[in-house]
Structure formats: C-alpha cells, structure tokens
Symmetry: C2
Subunit: 240 residues, 2 copies
Amino acid sequence: MSLSNQQKKFVKSLQLKKNRIKYNLFLVEGEKIVEELLNSDFEVVGVFATKDWSGSFIGSLTEVSEQELASISTLKTPNNVLAVAKQKQQQLSNNFSKPIIALDTIQDPGNLGTIIRTADWFGMNNIVCSESCVEMYNPKVVQATMGSIFRLNIVFTSLIDFFKENEHLQVYGALLDGKNCFTTTLHSDNSVLLMGNESVGITPKLFPYIHEKIAIPKFGHAESLNVAIATSILCAEFVK
Amino acid sequence: MSLSNQQKKFVKSLQLKKNRIKYNLFLVEGEKIVEELLNSDFEVVGVFATKDWSGSFIGSLTEVSEQELASISTLKTPNNVLAVAKQKQQQLSNNFSKPIIALDTIQDPGNLGTIIRTADWFGMNNIVCSESCVEMYNPKVVQATMGSIFRLNIVFTSLIDFFKENEHLQVYGALLDGKNCFTTTLHSDNSVLLMGNESVGITPKLFPYIHEKIAIPKFGHAESLNVAIATSILCAEFVK
C-alpha cells in the first residue's frame, strides 16, 4: 500500500494545531519515539514507514518512499517512520510522593518537551500546565520528550483553580529572590514545583498560592537560566 | 542611511558558516544580546536597527525598516536590531578554581548555546570543544547563549591533545555507568567535566583520559537526559 494524495494531505494537515484539535490526533516521528508510542497505551491510527523500518507494528502499515516520507514529515532529516496517534485526556495520578511540576505559560516547545523528558528521568509523573502553555501535541514538544510524553500524566488547566482545589499541597515557586535551593530543605511529598514563563517568570496573580520561594544561586554573570535547565536542576534537588 | 542591496546580500551571506569563516564575522540579533555585545570586548563592525531601537551604540548605524530587518534576520520574529561582529580567537583563562567543561561532538546549536549560558551562570569560565562540535558562531548558538558567549573563554581543539597537554587536571566523564554524582565528592579545582555527544555519548578513544566516571542517577523511565540538562545538573553539583 503506498501513499495516496488524500493521505498525504491529511497527515500534513496535522502539522497545524487547529487540525490536531479538530481530529483529536497528533504526529509522532522517528524510530525511537514511534517505538515508545507502540509500547504505550496511546492508540495508533496510522503508520507510514520506509522499507528500512524494522519496528514492531502489527497493524496496517503504509509503506512510503524516502521522498514521500519527507513530504509529510516535520523533521529536516526524517527517520524512517511517522505515526499518527489519538490524543488522550489525562488525569494526574494519586501518587504524590514526588513533586507535581506546575508550568506557567511555558511557550517554547523545546522547553516543554525537555521538561517532560527530565521529569520522566527523575520519576516525577505529574505535570500541570497553564492553558497558556504551548500545546503538548505540538510536534516539537513530542520530539523533545523523546517518548516520555507517553508515560507522564500531563494536564492543562487553570493553575489558580488547581491550587485552590489542592490546598494541602506545599507550593514551591522558582523566583530569583527565593531561598537558596541547595541549602533549603525541599519536601517531595505532597508538593508542587511551580516554574514561570521564559521571559517574565511566574505571573504575579499566582504569588498568593506560593508557600516557599526558591532560587538557584548565581555564581557567575548570566542574567538568567533557561527554564528547562532551571526546572531540571530543581528536580534533581527534590529527588536526590 | 538605509540598507543597500549590497549590504543586504553581505549580511545574509553570514548566515552560512563558510562565509562566517571567510570574513571572520558573525551575526548577533535582538536587543538583549546586542546590548551584551556592545558591553563586551568583541569588535562590532555594523549595526542595523529599526527606529524603535534604543541601544547604546555610538558608532555608525544603519537604520532599517522592519521589513528590511526581516529580510536579513535569522529569527522568525526579528527584534529591532542585528549586529555584525568580528570573531575572536580565544584562550582559556588560568583560573582553574572551577571545572573546565569539555564537550565532545555536541552537534545541536541550542544545546551548545544553553551549556555556555549555564556555565556563565555558575561562574565556569572555560569551555573546550572538540573540533567536531557545532561552530560557536552559528546564529542559533549565539542566540541560545543569551549573551554569555561574550563572557566565556571558548576554544576548539583536539580533546586528546588538550588532555595530553593538561595531565595535571582531574577529568570527570559523564557516563551512564558512572558513580552517583549526588554522593560522590567532586573536586572543582583543576578539574574537567567531559560531556559526550547527544546520541552516542563520549567517544571511546577519550576513555583513557577519564579519571572518574560520574552519572546522574535515574529514578524514573526516560532512556536518557538531554545533554544540556545533564551538563547543567552536573555543573550545579560541582559549584554548589
């Protein structure tokens, strides 16, 4: 079975957010991440692969040439396989032994994806994103997670509502004037690590919900850290 | 003075590595980073700015329209100013009180730029890159450093030669089978933190120069960490 024009047009349409929402689908690319998708509980609705792909898919597969794959791919260097999967409404798990990561208006897809990947490394399973964050099914987010997107519980909601409904959680906010994270005792149990936007930080309207402000001390001259870097250094401090 | 076709063509040509090398120049974009450039000891050879730019440049400036700026910019959303600066041959400083970061074949410009920015935050001034790393004057590297590129000493050389010439330095290599970095004593003085390529890690031919293997322990399920994230977590462990 080879690629029809209609399939090509449909798959390409999923590069746009409005179509991903309309059809409730998203794109997953590359051997490693598609393998993780196939091992996950996400539903796969289509697989387009070159004859070089040796993946473990047993459903119906569309064999494509390298040129055809390039024509539907979002990558500069397509990597043998592209899958179309169904989006999933997620819920947080009840296991609050490690902090929930709360993200306020993270807009760069690489940052969101990298944070998801790092959270997965450290066994932090719950991420709450403000509705102003970049969409989690953006292909660049999916790519940067390296497959961790299929393992974590990621919900999008109003952070204010979330904090109001979860008053028992200890909220740590990453702010430049916070306490030194390396010398403060950080409680992993029933806690939240709140990280703010790339340029403006945490929205002031969230300040009332923060119980403790923490910061990564600066020893040199850079004005700030990248938000995925800061999140990761703080995650390490919580779990180690 | 407005933008001539010749200027436009020349500035655009610097988007390519071969021309950056040929003319020994590179591009710097955006208000924040250009400001850092002007405060650095890098030589500025041209500034192209819209009338909205309120920077502190006292040399000769070419005023451009937003459309003209967009036509020479590498950014999706150009930010008022683009400068052309002279590349600089750099040397490591003699202050070895914090680890030198050695990078083996880091190929993603965002990763290299982010590592430079984080190193600057933690006051680590020396970075040694293998010649197989992405070029430091790549516009995406410059952008991701957020200006830290003008403050650090960054050299490109054979890592084997570097290790041979600096036998007194204690080399820590980040490897999956290394000792837990959170429980190992890490010596900042006269040491090197060696990080490997995004997909294949440290080249085996560098193994003989590693004195201690260190790793960030995994508590969850991701197969690996992004290299800029791993470098940053390890930098934090060294300096804190």
